[in-house]
């Protein structure tokens, strides 16, 4: 045992043995946490931090949208007329309902309601999410049919073909990324539902539902902004 630098040794820091004779460990408590509360707080903080990165992730696209809308307002108005406002509104409503069912699913876990209730809300959320994606698919196929998908086959009859193509570039990028998040959300929900079916969640432990809910609501919020920005702004304007 060789000490490279003998001599000064600092006094030790007090290291106390685990004195707190607490309640027995919850089965879902991970070894490196002290208690369930610390674990839950860490998880929700983690998800919120992740959502901040998500905000910035979508933020880059919103930035591009802002610059190009500012550069060609008329072109973007014109292009937005070819989106179906009713499908858009329907999808907004669907997502809002799914947010409600999600919130109720979290509440069901929080209040230790029966597994059936928990699964009921979770499955409704998933069904609504799938409905959203279905409508999105209809909208996308319409765009393909009308040749307003950017690329070599893009055709634009009206004014401002260039800004219109750019609008649809952004439309597909933004809604595509959002749809991808919806798909991931459905995957997460499937796992959560499976966990719920195993009687995992009660008022003592519902962090996974809560954290998944945060994600789901965030995806809803993105759509809440996408809907007016893509479908609505400029709708009142009618080109000559």
């Amino acid at each position: 045992m060789s000490e490279a630098h003998p001599g000064y040794q600092p006094p030790p820091v007090a290291i106390h043995p685990p004195g707190h004779g607490h309640t027995p460990h919850h089965p879902y408590l991970q070894h490196h946490f002290d208690n369930m509360e610390q674990q839950a707080e860490a998880s929700t903080l983690g998800m919120w931090t992740f959502l901040v990165t998500e905000i910035m992730f979508f933020g880059g696209l919103f930035m591009a949208y802002l610059v190009y809308r500012w550069q060609s307002p008329l072109g973007f108005q014109e292009a937005s007329h070819h989106l179906n406002i009713y499908w858009g509104a329907a999808n907004t409503a669907i997502l809002i309902i799914s947010s409600l069912t999600m919130a109720l699913a979290v509440r069901a876990a929080q209040t230790s309601q029966p597994v059936r209730t928990q699964i009921g809300w979770l499955v409704s959320t998933m069904v609504l999410g799938a409905a959203f994606l279905g409508i999105k698919a209809i909208e996308y196929s319409d765009k393909f049919r009308d040749h307003i998908v950017p690329g070599p086959y893009f055709q634009w009859e009206g004014l401002y073909p260039k800004p219109a193509e750019q609008f649809y570039s952004l439309y597909f990028a933004m809604t595509g990324l959002h749809a991808l998040h919806m798909v991931i959300g459905l995957g997460i929900m499937a796992v959560i539902t499976w966990m719920a079916s195993r009687k995992t969640f009660d008022s003592e432990y519902y962090t996974p539902v809560e954290v998944a809910g945060l994600y789901w609501h965030f995806v809803d919020i993105v759509w809440i902004f996408l809907f007016p920005l893509l479908y609505l702004i400029g709708r009142h304007y009618h080109a000559a």
């Binding site: 903080l45 550069q71 509104a89 947010s99 409600l100 209040t111 007016p228």
Partner: protein, 99 residues
């Protein structure tokens, strides 16, 4: 552990407000208010997002840290938008600027 449990009625009320907001924003889209259209749309969107964040995402009852984290995301987004747009919006302000 126990987080705040909000009554079901509150969730339904928030839900109703969100649907109402959606209806309003669609209706407003067909009324020509000039530049005000953009403002109204965005104001409604921000309100709806705030409702979701505060109630559905429980920030209303969250710790101060949660507030700070949630706010910082939007704040940094504003930094990105603000400093980028201060380039685009000021092109040509100084005579002879490259453009």
């Amino acid at each position: 552990m126990s987080g705040h449990v909000a009554p079901k009625s509150m969730y339904y009320a928030v839900f109703a407000a969100l649907i109402l907001g959606t209806a309003l924003t669609v209706a407003a889209a067909f009324i020509d208010m000039g530049a005000l259209n953009n403002v109204v749309m965005l104001a409604i969107a921000v309100t709806k997002a705030a409702l979701v964040v505060l109630f559905f995402m429980h920030v209303r009852w969250g710790t101060r840290l949660t507030w700070v984290v949630a706010a910082s995301g939007f704040f940094w987004l504003l930094i990105l938008f603000g400093l980028t747009m201060q380039d685009y919006l000021t092109r040509g302000w100084v005579d002879g600027t490259w453009r």
